[in-house]
């Protein structure tokens, strides 16, 4: 009754193989040379330009108590290194920062999940949580000193208050942006309740969560520096914030610059070593990273 001479089914396999080959493009990783030219060279040039401008400006200002020379600042670094203090300053602050951040992670994650999933909790504390993000965390230093005294707990409290809202909000927006299609697909496969959260909601919300972590770290580091500068107290050990405050009281401008540069570089380094790779990995594995 119909034209059954053709054999479309056998034919389909070969056509399909051709289509598959035509439609997929090979994506390779960039070479070492490309990475150097595109990623490493530009910041090196930028730093060189800043140093050059600084060297030119120094004789114009001609006042080492206002603008120290690049060599004086370099000397401050060298002294601290030779005395064996440099790594100690860094470690004091970084260990505080990372430990505080870890606590913030432990609190912020379940909190974010609660706010995202429970309508009542969201209505109750959702707006406060996003409002807290815009409160400069340095504002928490005075009350934290009064509540907890001049000690490490107070530093951690300030970090938590700075980072928890970012982490929780990141997770909330991550969960909010999960495409409903994924949830429906999960449900038809039997991923409901806790299994749905574990297998679908959380992995789908990961990009937003990681963005929250990144911001949470930036806030942790800022609040910690504020706490160290304001609550500088010898027994607490000298972190980078205290170093800056000590330099100010000693009117040692080279040391002030040293401290500021250290704070900047450590913040950048942690981001570059931990959070940016994490973010890139999450985005790349989902095909969300557009190659620049």
């Amino acid at each position: 009754m119909a034209s059954t001479e053709t054999t479309p089914v056998q034919d389909a396999g070969s056509v399909e193989a051709g289509l598959d080959a035509l439609e997929t493009t090979a994506t390779g990783r960039p070479t070492l040379r490309q990475t150097f030219v595109n990623k490493i060279l530009p910041p090196i040039i930028a730093i060189a330009v800043v140093l050059a401008a600084w060297s030119l400006l120094y004789p114009v200002v001609d006042n080492p108590t206002k603008l120290p020379s690049p060599t004086a600042v370099g000397g401050a670094f060298k002294d601290a290194w030779l005395k064996g203090d440099l790594l100690g300053y860094i470690w004091t602050s970084v260990s505080r920062g990372l430990l505080g951040f870890a606590f913030a992670l432990l609190i912020g994650t379940p909190l974010g999940l609660l706010v995202a999933r429970m309508r009542f909790v969201r209505a109750a504390i959702g707006p406060i949580l996003s409002g807290l993000q815009s409160l400069p965390s340095v504002a928490w230093v005075p009350p934290a000193v009064i509540w907890l005294g001049l000690n490490n707990s107070m530093m951690y409290a300030v970090i938590l208050l700075g980072a928890v809202p970012s982490i929780a909000n990141g997770l909330v927006s991550g969960v909010d942006q999960v495409p409903p299609l994924f949830l429906r697909a999960g449900r038809t496969m039997g991923a409901t309740g806790v299994r749905g959260i574990w297998h679908v909601t959380l992995p789908a919300a990961l990009p937003g969560y990681v963005a929250g972590l990144k911001q949470g770290w930036a806030f942790s580091w800022r609040s910690l520096m504020a706490a160290e500068i304001i609550a500088s107290y010898p027994d607490l050990g000298v972190g980078l914030g205290q170093l800056l405050e000590n330099a100010r009281t000693a009117s040692d401008m080279a040391m002030v610059f040293e401290a500021i540069l250290l704070i900047l570089f450590v913040g950048i380094a942690i981001d570059l070593l931990i959070f940016s790779p994490l973010e890139r990995w999450v985005l790349r594995s989902r095909g969300l990273l557009v190659k620049g």
């Binding site: 119909a2 034919d11 396999g13 056509v15 289509l19 598959d20 039997g190 992995p203």
Partner: protein, 259 residues
């Protein structure tokens, strides 16, 4: 034939049975009746296409059968939880093609040691042997839908629901996937309820075409499609029946313009 069918009928006489199903949604303008008194039986191993204009309630109906939503009236019985395939592939981008399939196996309770092998088998069934470790974004549209089909098959349900799964594909790819679906349906003995607004696609694939009218969605007519498989979408008998069905569909749509 009658005796064997009667024997099968004692265990499961249908893969899905919809009895007087109605669905209305609460809208700002009051209750909107989307589906009205739909009764359909899908026999085990049967391939049924549900045809209707956009917005007539096809997706709503499939969601009801999939158990994602409840009917306002009537009852739906299925033999186990049906698998559902969407127009968008709905694969999880954080998993590879193979792991997407393995997740379906895991949620079904398949032991960890068996999952990998089964996933590879299913990929082979949809002719994507080398795609196990591929990320979703590395696959073409047609390949994604085939992985999605493999994932749906991994659920090992007796009923596969498909909601315009090939609508977003180009004509050549769609054509090939029609062939594949027909082959896999014949190999697995699945029952399929396939939704589409494309008349030729409906005729190309189905043993039975059910036409839905719009606003509210009601069963307008049914056609038995006796053209033997394998068919091609450009075959003369497919075209003939498509023209007949299109005329009825147009008549249905025309009624809405008259008042």
């Amino acid at each position: 034939m009658a005796t064997t069918l009667a024997k099968a009928a004692e265990s499961v006489a249908y893969a899905a049975r919809l009895e007087h199903v109605s669905k209305s949604f609460a809208t700002p303008g009051g209750q909107q009746l989307v589906l009205d008194d739909i009764s359909i039986d899908v026999a085990p191993g049967e391939f049924v296409t549900l045809l209707g204009a956009s917005g007539c309630g096809k997706s709503t109906l499939l969601n009801l059968v999939a158990g994602l939503d409840r009917p306002t009236a009537g009852s739906i019985t299925t033999d186990g939880r049906p698998a559902l395939m969407f127009q968008e592939h709905a694969l999880f981008p954080w998993l590879t093609a193979g792991k997407n399939i393995e997740l379906a196996l895991k949620l079904r309770g398949v032991a960890k040691t068996e999952r990998r092998g089964k996933a590879e088998e299913l990929l082979e069934l949809v002719r994507l042997k080398g795609a196990y470790g591929k990320r979703v974004h590395e696959l073409s549209g047609g390949m994604r839908q085939r992985v999605a089909l493999a994932r749906a098959l991994a659920q090992e349900s007796n009923l596969l629901l498909m909601d315009e799964p090939f609508a977003a594909l180009d004509a050549i790819t769609r054509d090939v996937l029609h062939d594949e679906l027909t082959r896999i349906w014949a190999e697995t003995g699945l029952s399929v309820l396939f939704v589409t607004h494309n008349v030729r696609e409906a005729v190309r694939l189905a043993q039975r075409v059910v036409l839905l009218s719009s606003r509210p969605g009601r069963i307008a007519r049914e056609w038995q499609v006796d053209i033997p498989q394998p068919r091609r979408i450009e075959d003369a008998p497919v075209a003939e029946l498509s023209i007949e069905i299109t005329e009825v569909l147009r008549g249905e749509i025309r009624r809405h313009g008259q008042h």
